[in-house]
Symmetry: C2
Subunit: 340 residues, 2 copies
């Protein structure tokens, strides 16, 4: 396909080239559609009024385990052989990938070791344990999760399922974009733009791949928190940029130092750009979702709506796809964010 | 129809007899189905496990204005003549009916005066004003809202739309039961029982009317807060009972002194019984909904799930329809309820 050729030629310098195609996303959807929730696509008059745009909302906090991550995990685990399953899984995650892997592994009777930062939300750590994952905490400042994971895999034979730098994980997350395109078309809507929360970039890379094929006029944007806008700056410079250490954000799910090796080439080829939002912009969007949609969204999951509300993209009068990507947030944090 | 005959003969002593029929509910649905959201029916493994039952959840907080009340308001207003519309509407409500009437009236360009108790949640008072309603606060202890409303109607020619004692409001709320029966059937599920929050009893009366026709084996229960269990006690004694003054509850939406004149005869004829839940049981259910469903539910709206969780009905191993009827709750109250 021409889009794939264009993508491949744009990234000759990257060793880990993975040119995602719509076929990969479609195959993922065939594989997982019986296991995932086809979350709805809807709009709300108050949200539209607040944004000055037609906002088509896809609430992925209603997905199993409370985030889109269940899609990528389901797709990757479905492809494990019986021998691989016997060896188990090792995964690292700030939380939502941990919940997803724990649940999918348990469903298949596979042992899963999950590496999580010790400062992850309790809801995510306890949730992963409740779902059957064996959680091993690490210190963000002094330990490297990839090294711990590689060591466990070497010792136990476990399969590593990383949160974004995996072709099958990216393709699985891409089914969000596939559904978005199909559901918008069913509403008779033409998506001028679509926004996705971005950490390692798996969701937006997969979704952009689907939208490129199914809704080619749609401009796709990544949304990150201030201080963790590595993808936005990398898209602008054309090469992977790294965040300065020491930044903080409410968006615990979106704290990576640099774009993914597999995801960034895809995003560089397909995205219209990247934007970033402040904690206050995140809180305002969470409060709007609480007041008008009656949905629990986590800070990282609301960043696309925060970006539209704050005018970080030129959405006025346009039709905009907004994925609310997760809803796993501790009650204390949530209360603060909604102004309690 | 035989069910209607049985109902009529059971209540010869009541002046305000309104024998709701499935035809009334079906006609309401034909009238409003293009305006209301057909909320989904779904289940969640964690909720099922917590309840020891198959719980089919209908989330009416996702309805316009955040509660099922939009259905009854839409049906009643649709039947107003042009002359009536010119005279406006007067309604009284603890909150959710206020929001619904304000929104439906605004949609039709009708002026609406809304009487609300001065201790109603700010989310409901400010929401009604934002939607275009003219709110007039009254003191629960010293004023009688029906008298104020009648006075306004007499002076202005406004049509009174009460929150539950109105045949068209009851029929509109009954569309929740119609959808529940249809959606359960589509899932291949046979509803052993269905539970509905109960204040004046309009929702459960309308829904029971629909279920009686569409799912006759389903036992229907009303659920009230402790201290406001007038319907449960009235169903047990066979005659309208009144709550002792001075009780308090988290469930601001479910504080009526006695069952409705139109609704109680229907509920007496159709319900399997009524149960009541404590504030702590309500909080536990709200936390479960927060943790697992990522939905914002208000205290009154979660009472059916609270009743199942607390074993107030014998649901073990059964298939149970649970309507989460609303999600309009102040952030401070919500934070307290979910344990923040």
């Amino acid at each position: 396909m021409s889009s794939q050729s264009a993508l491949s030629s744009a990234i000759p310098d990257t060793a880990q080239v993975f040119a995602a195609t719509i076929s990969d996303v479609e195959a993922a959807y065939d594989r997982i559609s019986g296991q995932v929730i086809r979350t709805p696509l809807f709009e709300n008059a108050a949200v539209n009024a607040a944004c000055g745009a037609r906002i088509l909302i896809k609430p992925e906090m209603l997905q199993h385990t409370g985030s889109f991550k269940f899609r990528g995990a389901s797709n990757r685990v479905a492809l494990m052989s019986a021998a691989e399953r016997a060896g188990g899984i090792v995964a690292w995650s700030s939380g939502n990938h941990a919940l997803a892997i724990s649940a999918v592994a348990a469903r298949h009777g596979i042992h899963a070791t999950i590496l999580m930062p010790s400062d992850a939300p309790r809801a995510k750590i306890e949730g992963a344990e409740r779902l059957g994952g064996t959680v091993r905490l690490y210190d963000r400042a002094t330990e490297v999760r990839e090294e711990i994971g590689a060591d466990i895999a070497a010792r136990t034979g476990a399969v590593i399922i990383p949160p974004y730098d995996d072709p099958h994980v990216i393709a699985g997350q891409g089914t969000v974009g596939l559904e978005l395109a199909e559901q918008a078309a069913a509403l008779g809507a033409r998506l001028d733009m679509a926004l996705f929360a971005c950490s390692g970039g798996g969701l937006v890379a997969g979704a952009a791949t689907a939208l490129k094929a199914r809704s080619p006029a749609t401009q796709v944007f990544s949304v990150e928190p201030d201080g963790f806008d590595d993808t936005a700056r990398s898209l602008a410079s054309g090469k992977p940029e790294r965040n300065a250490p020491g930044a903080t954000t409410l968006c615990d799910a979106l704290m990576v130092p640099t774009p993914g090796l597999l995801t960034f080439p895809i995003n560089r080829a397909l995205l219209a750009g990247g934007v970033a939002v402040t904690d206050d912009e995140v809180k305002a969007a969470m409060r709007l979702v609480y007041d008008t949609l009656k949905l629990v969204v986590e800070p990282g999951g609301v960043t696309p709506l925060a970006a539209v509300l704050a005018g970080k993209v030129d959405a006025t009068g346009k039709t905009v796809g907004v994925v609310l990507s997760g809803g796993n947030v501790d009650p204390d944090t949530y209360a603060t964010c909604i102004g309690a």
